[in-house]
Symmetry: C2
Subunit: 200 residues, 2 copies
Amino acid sequence: MAKGKKDLDLSTEEKIMEAARKVFTEKGYAAARTRDIAEESGINLALLNYYFRSKEKLFELVMLERVNKLFGAIIPILNEESSSLEEKIEGIAGSYIDLLTEHPDLPIFVLSEIRNRPEKFAALVNARDRVTKSVFMKQLIERKLSVSPFHILINLLGMTVFPFVGKPVLSKLIGKEAEFDELMKQRKELIPMWIKMMLN
Amino acid sequence: MAKGKKDLDLSTEEKIMEAARKVFTEKGYAAARTRDIAEESGINLALLNYYFRSKEKLFELVMLERVNKLFGAIIPILNEESSSLEEKIEGIAGSYIDLLTEHPDLPIFVLSEIRNRPEKFAALVNARDRVTKSVFMKQLIERKLSVSPFHILINLLGMTVFPFVGKPVLSKLIGKEAEFDELMKQRKELIPMWIKMMLN
DNA sequence: TATTTTATTAATCATTCGATTAAATATTTT
DNA sequence: AAAATATTTAATCGAATGATTAATAAAATA
């Protein structure tokens, strides 16, 4: 049979995925209703199950996308062979701030879903070796710091990611949305500077 | 008798609150079932509504407790009149790490519930003036830094709070629970040191 | 064109869930 | 002790929700 998915199929499937991304990300798995997703995508409720079998299966696809997006922005940089430690730090801060400025709710979505159902999603982010044995960690160890290299990694991620995790609260303190974004833009250069200070 | 653990002399009301704290914090509002809370506290389901009117009302009490705990650990320090900027930085890092080592899921719980229903809880954390007009911010401004004082506040909170927000992922990288706690303990002294470096 | 497969819809099923009710039991007040 | 009030339970209600079904429309295939 012609197993090539037709344009219309793809379109419907993609409309559902698009709506699922939005609704799941806004409300979280438990509060999201399949009817919300159906309405948001302008399709019949039964079509959601026709194409994706269940709410759970649909969510797994969205979650996988999100996790890959979140970790795909850092893992490759950690493992670059040719770049220096300083270049990696600049790369991580820069690419993460660009990514999260566009998708501010990415980290809180992933982290809160993992917390709500750790048995289901913990394995998804088990990138232990790809981090602990990365070129980045090796380069950190070479510097013979007086503290664990994990501190540096935590600081880099904390200073970069935390403002977006705490955005619902922080943006109230800071004021306008534009000011928040301007601060984040500044941090692309500031964070590498601060981290480098910690390496001495 | 159900799996209620400590059936101590707690009043029925307090038994329900205790179970509500646990279930809401573990699963979030939307995924928490009033029947879970009833079973966890070893009481009849109807008693929950008898004492607290509704799931929503019960949750509001738990949420208020959590928010006060989370922000109560920092707001008073920000507004101390007698302590120096350096002392405040040490106080915040120290008291927050102590608090979050005991209650690691506090920040992710509060932040994700705010994100899921911002219209309901955003007002709860609107401490704008208490932060922006705090003694801490005044002291930062006096230092005539080359960057916005918000950067320093974000860095302090990011380095302190982020490891706990990301704990479900980070603890896998780091290894045993004890090692994570040991790193956090070290950070009580390290974070103030790093932040002070940023003040020059 | 005729037939088979794929896509879509309206209706509805089965469960779950928050909440209520009415009756029973315990506690306090008079 | 009697009456009044407060607490607790079992049963159940109604709405919401994920999922399915049976019928129809559209597209693909032969």
